[in-house]
Subunit: 397 residues, 2 copies
């Protein structure tokens, strides 16, 4: 147990171009905010920052919900926080599952003692909202869960019809927007979503560690009508409301510096403008896909269901998918993601999230990807990718 | 919902001397580590950092426990993670409660459906281990929880006798060492503690956001023998073990930058040396208490039970305790803590944790405290505090 500090090298993580499923590149202003002086969690200066953060988060979620704040944990903590507050043992829950994260929702609900019904689609497909409606119709259901942007597959799922189906049976609608917030339109109030959670390390260009969440007035009413306390104390929204609300009752020590970073990330977002940020994600996605298709490779999701920020590229037959990722990392300092679940070994997940979704990064990636695939003998068209991407940029400056 | 970014001032939190119950002052090297480049949570460079972090955490906890890692949440998340993994509904749990944090343990265990028995002491007192032994003896008990350093009162609780009493009935012993780790001796293996959790924002001089935890082999065996899955997915130690262990199975996206900071904080600790750090806390505590007593004020805990890192100072009759804290903050940029529970309005909590526990900060505090108390008309002896502290420093250089 004796430590020789000399045996530990000074901290010097490699500078990677983060083009996987998250974390994405952190904006330099966000990095700087992280190391601002720590103050106390009840310091008036910090309480003012919390108030500003709530205003910024409401604008990002496009909601007026009073109970909008950041859970002190990563995106999965936000998922658990929503479910543990909304559900009680025995509740019927319908989960629209088309990837790993829908599966995670179902798993958490099952641990909470709920009766979980899944409406499933294959990896790479979206779910017909009509199927969800049929699973709910006429049945006393507490909550319907849906993943807006499935990080494991790159599929965008339509939410509004599912939310309205949920409301027809007086169920709450829970939306996972971990990968969508700040990358594609998210309309919590417009779609009448009752609970939503996100993450900081995707399109918000902030390190992982917090989960923005929002609860509608209906969700808060449901919370107040619970027969039992939530099984989690740490995620108890009623208690967190007392800290984030005007009462300022101490609950747990907030992760001060991460909250500085999130505030800065949201300011960076709104300085560029939410609509412009979303347009940038779409433009860089088009350029990336044009380049990838020009190499003769394919995207594993139908065009109408694609997420600009997460691009699943089919691994060509005979190519060692791990070797490609390793070469990108070791020779080019570029991280991309592996496939998960039934996509394992079959796709690479190329992320274009937040600060990563910039022309220079698409250019770097296309050049490096072509080099690596060529060196590993993949059957690709060479020398065409960048021109194809440039054709997009010249049309959509 | 329209945001005018110009309406938000640039982030510029005040530079406070943090002398409350935590967060404490962050070491400059830790601040710097926080903003190191973010890498992916499965990047080989990050996995190496996780391995190093586990080695450092084991040395800090003084344990060989394989399952030693940082929970992605604050200290209370670590508390919940330990309880949710160790307990199942219906289990009998004995909690030694002598302040707010023992109460929190009991509350979490009750939410998990356990039969909770409390052995209580007044705020400011420690608990006779014999009373805990009597509450356990001959009764089938799953877990005995004890708070080693009660942040709400400044009381140090003896742990070894409670741990051995727990083992006599084959119960697990859970220790809260949020405020003790890195400030006073903590001996997880030596005391035969089965589960322990801490926090980063106390004596480790790191911002809040992570909770170091450790599980003994007995605790891991108990985990494997569970009849049901833990009600929490986010805190499921079996799954976290697969990520932190050699399997590296993705669970949730680790809070990368906070983990950089914790690694740096532990290196700073071991460069100074754990024993020297503990001696420094004790020396600065003696100097602080000498100064406070020279003013004619009293510490609210008996000398044998005092924590050097958390000093509850009795509010003299007729003094407005809030006004004193406000004046310290507004005029001197010094944060101290208010009393909690039955100590509310009756004590100030003066922290000397980690990087805060330095001679220059004790000097600053004594001068400012005397000025503020004098200005608010408190009945104190003036002009003696610093000389009393200096007498300690000259004896214990």
């Amino acid at each position: 147990m004796v430590i020789d500090p000399q045996a530990f090298a000074p901290l010097a993580p490699p500078v990677r171009l983060l083009m996987g499923p998250g974390p994405s590149l952190v904006h330099p202003r966000v990095s700087q905010a992280l190391s601002a002086p720590t103050v106390g969690h009840l310091d008036p200066a910090f309480l003012a920052i919390m108030d500003e953060l709530q205003v910024l988060l409401r604008a990002a979620f496009r909601t007026q919900n009073a109970l909008t704040f950041a859970v002190s944990g990563t995106g999965s903590a936000g998922m658990e926080a929503c479910l543990v507050n909304a559900l009680e043992p025995g509740d019927r829950v319908v989960i629209a599952q088309h990837g790993v994260f829908g599966g995670r929702m179902a798993e958490i609900a099952a641990r909470l003692g709920c009766d979980v019904v899944k409406v499933e689609a294959e990896f790479g497909d979206a779910i017909d909202p009509e199927r969800v409606r049929r699973a709910i119709a006429g049945k006393r259901t507490r909550l319907v869960g849906v993943v807006h942007a499935e990080t494991s597959t790159g599929v965008r799922q339509a939410v509004p019809d599912i939310a309205s189906a949920a409301h027809e049976v007086d169920a709450l609608c829970l939306m996972d927007c971990v990968t969508s917030l700040g990358g594609i339109p998210v309309e919590v109030d417009g779609w009448q979503v009752d609970l939503a959670f996100s993450g900081t390390q995707k399109c918000l260009s902030c390190p992982p560690g917090l989960s923005p969440v929002t609860f509608s007035a209906r969700a808060v009413d449901a919370l107040r009508a619970r027969r039992s306390k939530p099984s989690s104390w740490y995620f108890d929204a009623g208690m967190l409301l007392q800290y984030w609300g005007s009462d300022r009752v101490y609950h747990h020590t907030a992760p001060i510096n991460m909250l500085y970073a999130l505030r800065e990330a949201l300011l960076v977002l709104f300085e560029e403008g939410l609509e412009r940020v979303i347009a940038r994600h779409m433009r860089e996605h088009r350029a990336l896909v044009a380049g990838i298709e020009a190499m003769g490779l394919a995207i594993a999701v139908a065009p109408e269901n694609r997420l600009p920020q997460l691009n699943p590229v089919r691994v060509p037959q005979g190519v060692d998918e791990t070797a490609v990722r390793r070469a990108l990392l070791e020779r080019h300092d570029i991280e991309i993601g592996a496939g998960l679940g039934s996509f394992k070994g079959k796709v690479w997940r190329v992320g274009l999230m937040g600060h990563t979704a910039r022309r220079e990064h698409v250019t770097t990636f296309l050049g490096a990807f072509e080099e690596v695939l060529g060196a590993l003998g993949a059957p690709i068209e060479r020398g065409r990718a960048l021109a194809a991407a440039e054709a997009i940029w010249s049309r959509e400056p």
